[in-house]
């Protein structure tokens, strides 16, 4: 069963890697957005969101993720989701996130994919 939301982040190869645990809802989405904004204002344009420990995402949480994707797209940045549970993968796909964001099997694959981007 899903846990309460927590988040950790690190920067590797100029990429912000956000790793979440638990329900990505209003609280979770807001925390992700705050963490993103902190780095975005400092010039970070590549973001990886590792959802391995988040099996449940609601539409409010998704709206925060969409905002981040929009902001990154406006400045030519890129967001990649990794370690997606099949239900979350389908959810993000139906909500259209993958039209503007990428997905990768894991963080290493995402880093490699972002490294090849200009």
């Amino acid at each position: 069963m899903e846990q309460q939301f927590t988040l950790t982040s690190e920067v590797r190869n100029d990429c912000l890697i956000i790793t979440t645990t638990g329900y990505v809802n209003n609280v979770g989405g807001e925390k992700i957005a705050q963490e993103f904004s902190r780095h975005f204002e400092g010039g970070t344009k590549k973001v990886i969101v590792n959802l391995a420990q988040s099996k449940v995402v609601n539409s409010i949480g998704m709206s925060f993720l969409i905002d981040i994707v929009d902001q990154l797209n406006d400045v030519g940045g890129k967001m990649v989701f990794t370690d997606l549970d099949s239900a979350v993968d389908k959810m993000l796909s139906i909500m259209g996130l993958f039209q503007f964001a990428g997905k990768a099997k894991n963080v290493d694959d995402a880093l490699a994919s972002l490294a090849s981007e200009k």
Binding site: M1, Q4, Y23, V27, N58, I60, G96
Partner: protein
């Protein structure tokens, strides 16, 4: 270089303004937010009006104060647009160094532009005010475009969310109906229901009839507190297997706080709980089916065992007519009968009834048959045979399993019958004078007590024309549709007397027909077994 005249400077400015209008709309149409729109708009205006400080204000309606839309700028000391709702544009000072335009926007809010010449700049002309009016209308168009794009985005999001809800409903239905999975159906449904309705938390309570309950919270660690507003909680309940399953969702989330749940949220929760209910019913039925199949396999094996134990045909005994029957109430019963020829010309008649039915009973019958056959190889008294059988059945069966049995040895030449009775029904001896004597020969059932209690022999001499009937309690206790016992309506002894002239085969057939007629369509409650011996 030729100095520009005021006229050519004016024309140039107009040209810049026209170009800025065209370019401006392209830039403004990309704005994502009102603030972003204001920033982009200020940039456009600064190109048209150099040396100008541009401030963009907004108020949600005429009763509210103007708010600056630009980040970083201080409004302290800045001129504000007039509050007059009829105001459209004009100079804000006598020196014409500040001008303003106000536009009522499509959503009835207002945008106000205040342009102030910086130090060294020239005063604004009337044409500039006209231009500013055009630009503020451009802002209105761009704002409408922003609202439309935002609305469109919201509609697409809402539409996608509906598709997601439907899709997830189908997927969840498939997942909860899987018989083997890590997550229980109600946990899975709770997660999905919370996520699809944007509930911040939820719980499933499974309550038993005796007040015991098990609660599962989502997310784990959340504890729901009392909800003050009933619209901030939705519930769906069903009962199954003596338990009440209650699903509760709390606090529908939005980006702007908690909202009341909608009707569709309740429909969604109900649909998901119905899926869980159906899944539990299906699991129960599946389990029942598995148990039934297991029982049928057991019965099939036991039936095979019993088929080999029960006599295919009874021996022909010179001077005697003998017939028997066994009709199990299930496919396999716990009754056993036989007539075994001994090497010395005598015959052993056996009638037994195991407590219970199915596989365990069949195995015990099998044991009795095997031990009896083995012991008959060795000469011993009937009482000793019974004692040995009791001991061995005690050792090989559980305390609740025992066998009632009647074992007799017939010496055909003399008609002597020596019998022991291990707790079985008395055997009826129909004499030539049409009276019946019960052969009781009492003793404890085999396997009940391992206390070396003695078995008492009883001997009779069966004269010509006399008969004995061995049977199990399935005959007197055969039950009619009206729940009456066969024995209470048709005493077996009377039947025996009424049919004393019948051959053994005819008697058995007549008895079974009579029982079937009596029981009608009532299910057979016990095995029916009988062995009938007539001395000709």
């Amino acid at each position: 270089m030729k100095a520009s005249t005021p006229k050519s400077s004016h024309a140039h400015r107009l040209l810049v303004q026209i170009e800025s209008l065209q370019d401006g709309f392209r830039k403004l149409s990309k704005a994502a937010t009102l603030t972003d729109l204001a920033d982009k708009f200020a940039t456009v205006l600064n190109r048209v009006f150099p040396n100008t400080e541009t401030r963009v204000f907004h108020r949600s309606d005429h009763a509210n104060q103007w708010q600056s839309l630009q980040l970083g700028g201080s409004d302290t000391g800045s001129l504000l647009p007039p509050n007059d709702v009829t105001y459209t544009s004009g100079f804000l000072d006598k020196a014409s160094r500040s001008m303003c335009a106000v536009q009522n926007l499509v959503d009835r809010s207002y945008v106000g532009l205040v342009l102030t010449q910086q130090t060294g700049g020239t005063k604004y002309a009337d044409d500039d005010v006209v231009s500013l009016r055009l630009f503020v209308q451009l802002f209105d168009n761009a704002y409408q475009s922003l609202l439309h794009r935002r609305k469109e985005k919201e509609l697409v999001f809402a539409l996608n969310h509906r598709v997601l809800q439907l899709n997830s409903l189908i997927d969840t239905g498939i997942e909860v109906s899987k018989l083997y999975q890590k997550t229980s159906p109600h946990q899975l449904a709770l997660e999905r229901a919370a996520s699809l309705t944007n509930a911040s938390k939820g719980l499933v309570r499974v309550a038993g009839k005796k007040g015991e309950k098990e609660e599962t919270f989502f997310p784990v660690g959340e504890r729901t507190r009392k909800v003050e507003n009933p619209s901030h909680c939705i519930t769906s309940t069903f009962k199954f297997g003596g338990k009440t399953y209650t699903f509760k969702l709390f606090e529908k989330e939005s980006r702007h706080g908690i909202l009341p749940f909608e009707e569709t949220d309740q429909l969604l929760l109900d649909a998901l709980t119905r899926q869980v209910h159906a899944s539990l019913v299906n699991r129960y039925l599946h389990q029942q089916e598995l148990e039934k199949q297991k029982m049928e396999r057991e019965i099939s094996v036991a039936a095979g065992i019993q088929q080999r134990i029960l006599p295919e045909a009874l021996p022909v005994i010179d001077g005697y007519d003998i017939a028997g029957i066994n009709i199990p109430s299930k496919l396999v019963g716990g009754d056993y009968f036989d007539c075994i020829a001994l090497p010395d010309g005598r015959y052993v008649l056996v009638m037994a009834d195991v407590a219970g039915k199915g596989m365990p009973a069949a195995l015990l019958v099998s044991s009795l048959h095997a031990y009896l056959s083995a012991y008959l190889e060795t000469p011993m008294s009937l009482a000793e045979l019974a004692g040995r059988l009791n001991k061995v059945i005690c050792r090989t069966s559980t305390a609740d399993k025992f066998i009632t049995a009647f074992v007799a040895v017939l010496t055909p030449g003399t008609g002597e019958i020596e019998a022991v009775n291990a707790g079985h029904n008395p055997v009826y001896w129909l004499k030539n004078d049409a009276t019946i004597q019960e052969i009781k020969a009492s003793g404890v059932p085999f396997g009940m007590l391992d206390l070396d209690l003695p078995y008492t022999n009883e001997q009779i001499i069966l004269s010509r024309g006399e008969r004995v009937l061995l049977y199990t309690d399935g005959i007197p206790e055969a039950t009619s549709e009206q729940n009456q016992l066969y024995e209470s309506t048709v005493p077996l002894q009377e039947f025996l007397i009424r049919h004393k002239s019948y051959s053994a085969d005819a008697f058995i057939k007549g008895l079974i027909d009579d029982i079937k007629k009596f029981t009608g369509d009532a299910p057979q409650s016990d095995d029916i077994t009988a062995l009938y011996l007539v001395r000709r």
